[in-house]
């Protein structure tokens, strides 16, 4: 009875939200977040763009050089073209795309299990992403230690795969694969959880309908029912995977220092740190930053194009 009364009132008197189409209090509520966002995200990004057109050594006032930094980056930065860019592409493809596909398959598999085993498995798969580089440096140093006391060397030697210990963290052949494995290991992050939730919340009646309509195995079910329903979650996970793939430079710095031996595991993020905080060529580092932000933007656009429905009528 009382519920009806409220409903009636709502019909009679237009509510405050609707009445005040431009409620100034909105600004008040957004202001604290917006202020911090502006100071520590927006302004730094704009500053990076401006600095990228200057020559700045952190001591003297920056001098305007136009596109020189970008031209140098493309035409004469041999380290960037020979090592950093190819490494970053390989890393991003394997950890970004590979990790994304892996996390979807795992999420899908987990959703076919009852709640308890699913929760336990999800927790185990998610926990590496909580370690974010720093906490686990010692772990990788022990596993990939270069003498025979290293865990991996010891295992491989006892299995007879190798006879002499491999100096994993100096050998340029192994550095990038090691960094990639660690990246993959810790890639089941929040996007992975989002995909699990997306699959779990898909409309159950559709599965029954599809079974009647001739979908007769789980793979078809996944392609035709599950994925179309969870595209928004897939997109969120894709954005997270892309950011993760380009952001992660800490691992190689912590394991091998910056720059890594022979630039073998040098990623674009390491290149920025190298120029910005070791050579103090801030303008140049800013140009690399802008390129990085653009690449991330480009990849996210591509994911957006792939995963949002435009062809619907």
């Amino acid at each position: 009875m009382s519920e009806q009364a409220t409903n009636n009132k709502a019909v009679l008197k237009p509510n405050k939200i609707a009445k005040r189409n431009n409620n100034k209090n909105g600004y008040l509520f957004v202001a604290p977040y917006a202020l911090v966002f502006m100071i520590f995200i927006l302004i730094p990004v704009l500053l990076a763009v401006i600095l990228s057109f200057t020559n700045f050594n952190a001591i003297e006032f920056p001098t305007w050089v136009g596109f020189l930094n970008y031209i140098t980056l493309i035409t004469s930065d041999e380290v960037f073209m020979q090592y950093v860019l190819p490494n970053t592409v390989v890393y991003a493809v394997v950890v970004g795309i590979g990790g994304y596909i892996l996390s979807f398959i795992l999420a899908w598999a987990l959703c076919n299990l009852p709640k308890l085993p699913r929760t336990v498995f999800a927790l185990i798969l998610y926990s590496p992403s909580m370690t974010t580089g720093v906490a686990m440096t010692v772990l990788w140093k022990v596993i990939f230690s270069g003498d025979q006391t290293g865990l991996l060397n010891s295992w491989l030697m006892s299995l007879g795969v190798i006879t002499d210990p491999i100096v994993w963290l100096v050998n340029t052949n192994f550095l990038l694969p090691i960094v990639i494995i660690i990246g993959l290991w810790s890639s089941m992050g929040i996007g992975f959880l989002s995909m699990i939730a997306g699959i779990l919340n898909s409309d159950e009646s559709l599965y029954e309908a599809a079974a009647i309509d001739g979908v007769h195995n789980r793979f078809q079910e996944m392609i035709y029912i599950t994925i179309p329903q969870m595209k928004p979650q897939m997109l969120f996970a894709a954005v997270m995977a892309i950011v993760n793939a380009f952001q992660n430079g800490l691992i190689s710095t912590l394991l091998t220092g910056n720059p890594s031996p022979g630039y073998a595991a040098q990623l674009i993020v390491n290149h920025i740190e190298d120029y910005g905080f070791q050579r103090y060529e801030m303008g140049y580092a800013a140009a690399v930053s802008v390129v990085l932000l653009l690449i991330v933007q480009l990849f996210s656009k591509a994911a957006n194009g792939l995963l949002t429905e435009k062809d619907e009528f």
Binding site: G26, V30, F40, P44, L47, S127, A135, T149, Q233, Q247
Partner: protein
Amino acid sequence: MAYKGKRINPDKFEVGQLKIIAIILPLVIFMALPIIFIANHAFKPMDELFAFPPTFFVKKPTLENFTKLVKFSRTSGVPLSRYIFNSTIVTVLTVGLSLFFTTCAAFALSKIKFKGRNMMIQINQLALMFVATAVLIPRYLVICNLGLIDNTLAHVLPLVAYPVALFLVKQFVEQVPDSLIEAAYMDGATDFQVYRKIIIPMIKPAIATAAILVFQQVWTNMETSNYYINDDSMKTLTFYMNSLVNANNTVSGQGMAAAASLILFVPNLVLFIILQNSVMNTMANSGIK
């Protein structure tokens, strides 16, 4: 047997699930191994750390590494308790501020109408792709100019605005029924009362999720200690643990470092286990439309 469909989220165990378990179990074990190893390593006594061939599991667990960790910090001038204190303060401040700012903004962006709202939502959506390491240098300049070098706030403020957290909380606030909010306005509630009495109690899962995400960002963050703080006694636990790892790359140092890693990792894990239900609840609304 006809295919029935609807196998997602089964209620009980079926034989068919064994296939799936058989496929993912090796991977799950592979993912878990490093963490199991570090947990074992941290409790190994000296002779097991030195053991050859190296062992994976601890045989005679001891707290030696943890006590050494405390002792070692005494010799380095700044006691361990100082770093723990710093990290706690920084984490509590960041998570607290971030949650307050984020929920306020999420409420306004999804339930209050004002000019520029859609643009703000778009900007935040774009900022999901923000790569913090890319703006390390300009951020440093900003912090310099604000005079925040060697200030606790330099640890806190850069991490307060986290676009992913705002996005998730905003998605969740949108699920709060408008009729409820309208009824409150009808009874004469102010915007702040609506935020306080209706929105906050209804979005607890999203708040828990945002708390975990921000916690993970700040608890293991080393950037702020590395670049914005010069005074060693102002730095955080993560920084100290890391310098410990680098300074003691000997076998005896490894035990200490493993203990340190465990100390850093466990709060994350415990928090996630406690809040995992809320997290999954929130992630259901995480889609970008």
